[in-house]
């Protein structure tokens, strides 16, 4: 049975639960940062992992200390937190240009909070570490995720989430070449009709918010009381429906998506 991450904001705790318990939107008042329904489509069977061949010595030492007792563990947890804080600050620094309204101390608070939450996640999931990477790489992703989610939410704090296709004008503002205009117009009209007619209201809402209006998936998940995984599944299903409908309508998408720009 797969387990999933659920980030409970109220308790700042991380718990694992069964994937089949969490799909429905609105069923949980908390944010699930990542969720279920995997895989979306069945990729080919993965090759057997060939790298890294075994747990490296550094990772083995980390695990021994983190699973130890007393000062050995306390010291390891402190070093782990420092590592996570470094990663969180790295993420904050990368995104800082997109957050000019946030002051340095606010950004550092976000990094510290992200490191704290990541520490809880890492310690709760330590037994999930398979040694498929170095332990430091494995823990970094928790800190980067926590920092990224917090920064995306901060950037959208207090903003209305546009759920209607208000950016539909994108289609007409791309400057069609006169000789291509008719063909492009036909495609866009078919796509617009398909979005209106083929998708469920929920799929349409998710597609419009994420793909047209650029709402971050974590932000939308929080506003709708659902999970990132469930939203991406809805987006994926919507995209597949649109592709299928356009294909059955005789519209070739490859020429539009793969031509040079």
């Amino acid at each position: 049975m797969r387990t999933e991450l659920h980030h409970d904001r109220t308790s700042a705790n991380v718990v694992a639960w069964r994937a089949d318990q969490i799909v429905e939107a609105g069923s949980a008042p908390t944010l699930a940062s990542l969720a279920c329904v995997e895989p979306l489509t069945r990729p080919p069977e993965p090759a057997r992992p060939t790298y890294p061949p075994a747990l490296d010595e550094d990772s083995r030492e980390w695990l021994r200390a983190l699973r130890g007792q007393g000062s050995l563990r306390d010291d390891a947890v402190a070093r782990l937190h420092a590592l996570l804080l470094r990663a969180a600050r790295f993420e904050v620094a990368r995104r800082r240009p997109t957050l000019p309204h946030l002051r340095g101390n606010e950004l550092d608070d976000i990094a510290t909070e992200a490191a704290d939450d990541a520490l809880i996640s890492v310690l709760a999931r330590l037994d999930d570490f398979r040694g498929a990477s170095r332990l430091t790489t494995w823990v970094y992703k928790f800190a980067l995720l926590e920092a990224a989610v917090k920064l995306r939410k901060r950037a959208w704090q207090g903003r209305e989430i546009p759920l209607e296709p208000e950016t539909w004008s994108l289609f007409t503002s791309t400057g069609f070449r006169p000789d291509a205009q008719l063909e492009q117009s036909e495609l866009l009209e078919a796509l617009q009709r398909a979005i209106a007619d083929v998708l469920t209201p929920h799929q349409r809402k998710v597609l419009v918010a994420l793909a047209l209006n650029g709402v971050p998936i974590d932000v939308l998940a929080e506003r709708l009381g659902t999970t990132r995984g469930a939203l991406y599944k809805a987006l994926h299903d919507a995209r597949q429906k649109l592709r299928k409908h356009l294909h059955e309508s005789g519209l070739s998408l490859d020429s539009w998506l793969e031509e040079g720009t």
Binding site: E4, A35, L40, F90, A132, R134, L212
Partner: protein
């Protein structure tokens, strides 16, 4: 030729064409994927469907870029 703005919009609306994993599998595999990439191994062959997901999911793509930059930067030290 497709206009860049139109192509981007279509890409966001229609997503990747191939099979892809979801956000949860992406997170589970991201550390291994990044280390495979940085080691010059065939990450896409080892973890099918992850690259397509990164193409279709901006949030996971950002987190991949960050992890790759962080770990790759450390290796240069």
């Amino acid at each position: 030729m497709t206009q860049p703005g139109l192509k981007d919009t279509l890409g966001r609306l229609l997503g990747p064409a191939g099979a892809e994993v979801g956000c949860d599998t992406c997170f589970e595999e991201l550390d291994r994927y990044v280390e495979l990439e940085l080691a010059g191994h065939n990450a896409d062959g080892e973890i099918p469907g992850l690259r397509a997901h990164l193409d279709g999911c901006p949030a996971c793509r950002e987190e991949h870029e960050s992890l790759r930059a962080l770990v790759g930067g450390e290796q240069l030290l």
